[in-house]
């Protein structure tokens, strides 16, 4: 925009160049002009500088975290696991090749210089259902080994952590900015409780229980649908409403428990879900012939006799049998049972069996399991089999921690569900589970951490194990030929009580119970 100042400059430019002969007046005007321009420029510059400064300040406020990252000198972060030098991690786990495929492979892909060594897991016949050879042999083996990462059965975590044999993990969690907020809450609380409030391990998997029900059957027969966390009495009463109902010429059950279920198996799992015990906490007194157990067995016997609890005879087979053939014997999968009580593993069974057997995917729902009246909605059968922990004496603790962090990661959870093993759910929900309302039930499952821990310790106790084994073996023997005969529950429980007492006496004689219920 040209104004009077510019015209002035035009006049100046008309003067002959190199004349040097500017008149004083002109020179004065020029100097003044220059000063004025400079002042204006200064003002403009100051104004511009001020606005830039203001913007920089505003920008710094808005982008402060990024700037902090840029401005703090980056400590040349030395990776814990070298890119070039081999790093060995020694692992104690019940199944070496299983460890490699579940955890080792994806870790080596991220850290190619890592090599795994394996320490023997204690106990000669360790398997997924027998991880507890006894706390003393376990401790002994752990101390002898060079394990950097160890699989610790939950039952042993309290004693091993309080004895200082495992590294506490909270400080590392905090240092590395890790939160346990995405862990299944009951797992989180129970593992901490086992460590006296501190974190000493990560439980990568858990199992929960649920009531699965066939909506269609309820609707078709005008029976009100079950609800979250009923008591077993309520569940049984609901099941009884299906007595006498048939579908396609075959009886419809109110309640079933998979294929090849038996009354003693049902008693054991329902008893577990109600927190019933076969011996008291001190393992001095058998608690089989009790009102609670009597009530349970009586209801089961009545339901089976009347047919609203599935009473198909146990079937046997020779050689191999396919899963599809087994599924054919599960009334719930075949759309002929209104309810079934099963673990989270049943989700896989339902998806594997598919809709072809008579139960469409949209026809079934899932609810928090039935249990004791006093603790509605809680899952008293919730299971946390083990944690991964880092022994205090580990030579490669830092590397083991990197491995443990990977095991805890959502990335690993997503991978875990692609390679199912042991039928458990990953503690950190996989992305697929997060959007699936049915598995979400297990990720909200509530249980009393102390109760879970106590039950787990009890079940790992060899004395309790011998009682349990004696009782259920006797129960099986006495009920397998019952057929249509009315079961004399009182007589049965007296006999089971006697077996339990015998087992306790034998253990006491062997001096095991002298430890007062300690494994």
């Amino acid at each position: 925009m040209r104004d009077h100042r510019d015209r002035w400059e035009d006049r100046l430019s008309d003067l002959p160049l190199g004349s040097g002969g500017f008149g004083t007046a002109t020179m004065k005007k020029v100097k003044e002009r220059i000063k004025m321009l400079e002042r204006r420029a200064k003002r403009r510059r100051r104004a511009a500088a001020a606005s830039v400064a203001a913007l920089l300040i505003a920008g710094a406020v808005v982008f402060r975290s990024e700037l902090a990252g840029l401005l703090t000198p980056e400590e040349a972060a030395k990776p814990v696991i070298s890119e070039t030098e081999p790093t060995t991690i020694n692992v104690m786990y019940w199944d070496n090749s299983g460890f490699m495929s579940a955890f080792g492979q994806p870790f080596v892909i991220r850290h190619p210089s890592v090599r795994f060594e394996y320490a023997d897991y204690p106990g000669k016949t360790a398997n997924l259902f027998n991880l507890t050879p006894g706390i003393e042999p376990f401790k002994e083996q752990l101390l002898k080994s060079h394990a950097d990462l160890v699989q610790v059965p939950l039952a042993y975590l309290p004693e091993l952590s309080s004895a200082g044999l495992l590294k506490p993990l909270d400080t590392w969690m905090k240092r590395d900015g890790l939160k346990d907020g995405n862990w299944q809450p009951t797992v989180r609380a129970t593992v901490r409780e086992a460590g006296g409030g501190q974190l000493y391990g990560y439980a990568p998997e858990f199992s929960g229980y649920a009531l699965f029900y066939n909506r269609k059957l309820f609707q078709e027969n005008g029976v009100p649908e079950p609800t979250d966390g009923m008591s077993w009495d309520e569940a049984m009463d609901l099941a009884a409403r299906f007595q006498g109902i048939e579908k396609g010429g075959k009886p419809v059950n109110g309640l079933s428990f998979g294929y090849n279920s038996t009354i003693w198996f049902e008693a054991s799992i329902i008893g577990k879900s109600q927190g019933l015990r076969l011996a008291d906490a001190k393992l001095g007194q058998a608690t089989v012939d009790t009102p609670a157990w009597t009530d349970l067995w009586t209801k089961l016997a009545a339901g089976r006799r009347a047919g609203w609890i599935n009473n198909d005879p146990v079937f046997k087979w020779e050689g191999n049998i396919s899963m599809k053939e087994l599924y054919a014997h599960d009334p719930f999968l075949n759309g002929r049972s209104a309810m079934t009580y099963a673990s989270s593993a049943y989700l896989d069974t339902l998806s594997d069996a598919g809709s072809g057997l008579g139960l469409a995917q949209e026809d079934w729902g899932i609810l928090a399991p039935p249990g004791d009246k006093a603790s509605r909605g809680m899952d008293a059968a919730f299971e946390i089999p083990f944690v991964f922990a880092i022994p205090a004496q580990a030579a490669h603790a830092d590397a083991a921690w990197e491995l443990l962090k990977y095991i805890m990661s959502p990335s690993q959870a997503n991978r875990y569900v692609r390679f199912p093993h042991g039928d458990a759910l990953p503690t950190v929900a996989a992305d697929a589970a997060a959007s699936d309302t049915r598995s979400a039930l297990f990720y909200r499952a509530d249980a009393d951490p102390s109760q879970v821990l106590d039950r787990t310790k009890r079940d790992a106790n060899p004395v309790y194990g011998s009682v349990s084994s004696a009782v259920w073996t006797e129960a099986s023997n006495r009920t397998q030929n019952a057929g249509g005969d009315e079961l004399d529950v009182s007589e049965l429980l007296q006999a089971l009580q006697a077996k339990a007492e015998q087992a306790l006496q034998a253990a006491s004689a062997a001096g095991q119970a002298a430890a007062g219920g300690q494994p």
């Binding site: 403009r44 511009a48 606005s51 830039v52 913007l55 920089l56 920008g59 982008f63 990024e66 700037l67 990252g69 840029l70 090749s97 490699m100 495929s101 080792g104 492979q105 994806p106 080596v108 892909i109 991220r110 190619p112 210089s113 890592v114 090599r115 990335s411 997503n414 991978r415 692609r418």
Partner: protein
């Protein structure tokens, strides 16, 4: 004008900060990529872990080329339909599908891409694999993969020690190998059920002849003229070598019989067991692939000492020998919408990182194969792997198996039968070696004439 400077300053500031933000964090928009590969099971076992580890924030869509339980071979038409329907950015192909797409000119020239990206990705790849991928004509690379299979010569140290015979070495040719096998066979101290040289899956003397011819670079036809080229000194020498080896009993005349059903060959129990002869300790020498190496190093270790050297080499060029196979070839379609992302993933699979990870995984990942990275034997800290990296292959991706057809339809089978027949009659003393050899060329020419005219007739019938 008054507002311009502040505005300029603001936009500069924002540009600076967002530029810095990008370098301080990874790119904020998630990248997407469609990968077409194999069967879902194979993808899950062999590739998915790597992709999820290397590109955790990417949205990678996997499209299977095959269903898990049902293999359907593609042809030009069906693979084009697949490409147009699924629009993959990155392909992981078997040799056959790779061949189809390359022929259809639907794949990016990787040499050009490598030059443009200033990539060093081929610098560390073992030369034999690159030779294999460049085809018969040594052309541009249209595909490459992180893993391959190759052959070697295995030997049973216990048998050699017992007979006081020197071990096989690198650089031997077939003639020398057969001679060594012969020494074993003729040695009276050899156990009755031990053999000198075992080559699995041979279906007769012609197969062995073909094997050796492949190494020596001999062909029995001229593809351009349609002539039969069996009457050369090279063939004569080879034929007589093999036939006399059968006569002497160096090779046992009964081989695994395969049952043909719907065009697929099934091998029975005996066939499968005989394939295991070396691991059982019954063969002094075996020429076999790297699956045997994985087997010998697996948990069930053999009870005898063993070694491995380079496979028999070409007499005229000891740097050539053995065959290479790639079961998964990575390629980028020319039509890829996310070609840059595809390139990043391909480069990642061809990286030292992935090669070293493979060294650590062994057979754990569900694919017992060799990394194409030349340093793999070093990363495995095991010199037994060296022989697989030593030679340039006798085959290529154009003709990836030694039994590839050399003549028109029906000719090769008939030729094989002809040659087998003459070898057998020589073994049974019904003909001399000279007679047997001399009969083949003219009889083969007659077969060729017939095959060519049959072909013409078919062509005439199909002409519209």
């Amino acid at each position: 004008m008054k507002r311009l400077a502040p505005l300029l300053a603001l936009s500069l500031l924002l540009a600076l900060v967002s530029g810095c933000t990008k370098s301080a964090h990874t790119a904020t928009e998630p990248k997407t990529l469609t990968v077409a590969c194999c069967q879902p099971y194979t993808y899950d076992m062999q590739f998915r872990d790597f992709i999820e580890a290397g590109f955790p924030d990417w949205d990678v869509k996997f499209v299977p080329l095959q269903a898990d339980n049902d293999y359907k071979a593609y042809d030009e038409k069906t693979i084009a339909e697949f490409m147009d329907r699924e629009k993959p950015d990155l392909l992981i192909l078997n040799s056959s599908d790779f061949g189809l797409l390359r022929k259809a000119d639907r794949l990016q020239n990787l040499d050009e891409l490598i030059a443009r990206e200033k990539s060093k990705l081929t610098d560390t790849v073992t030369p034999g694999v690159l030779d294999f991928l460049r085809g018969e004509d040594g052309g541009p690379l249209y595909g490459i993969g992180p893993a391959f299979h190759a052959n070697a010569m295995y030997f049973n140290k216990d048998i050699f020690d017992r007979l006081g015979t020197p071990y096989p070495t690198d650089g031997m040719n077939w003639e020398q190998t057969i001679e060594l096998a012969d020494r074993i066979m003729q040695d009276k101290r050899r156990e009755k059920d031990e053999i000198g040289l075992h080559i699995p899956w041979l279906r007769g003397p012609f197969d062995l002849l073909q094997r050796i011819a492949g190494t020596e670079g001999l062909k029995y036809t001229n593809a351009d003229t349609g002539a039969v080229t069996f009457d050369t000194p090279g063939w004569e020498r080879l034929f007589k070598q093999v036939a006399s080896a059968y006569k002497r009993g160096t090779f046992v005349a009964s081989w695994p019989e395969g049952r043909e059903e719907d065009g697929t060959t099934y091998y029975d129990q005996a066939a499968m067991e005989s394939a295991d002869l070396f691991k059982k300790g019954k063969a002094a020498i075996a020429v076999d692939d790297d699956f045997l190496l994985a087997n010998l190093k697996s948990a069930q270790k053999p009870k005898f000492g063993w070694g491995v050297v380079e496979p028999p080499a070409r007499s005229s060029d000891p740097g050539v020998g053995g065959e290479i196979r790639l079961y998964e070839v990575f390629a980028i379609p020319t039509s890829a919408a996310h070609a840059e992302e595809a390139w990043q993933v391909l480069s990642y699979f061809m990286s030292e990182h992935v090669g070293k990870a493979k060294a650590g995984l062994g057979s754990a990942i569900g694919a017992m194969d060799l990394s194409v990275q030349r340093d793999y034997p070093e990363w495995k800290q095991d010199p037994d792997y060296e022989p697989f990296y030593a030679l340039r292959p006798t085959n290529s991706i154009d003709k990836f198996y030694y039994g590839a057809e050399q003549g028109p339809a029906g000719f090769d089978e008939a030729f094989a039968e002809l040659v087998n027949g003459h070898i057998r009659s020589a073994v049974e003393d019904k003909e001399t070696l000279d007679e047997a050899y001399a009969a083949i060329q003219p009889e083969a020419e007659a077969l060729m004439k017939k095959a060519l005219s049959d072909q013409k007739a078919d062509g005439a019938d199909e002409s519209k």
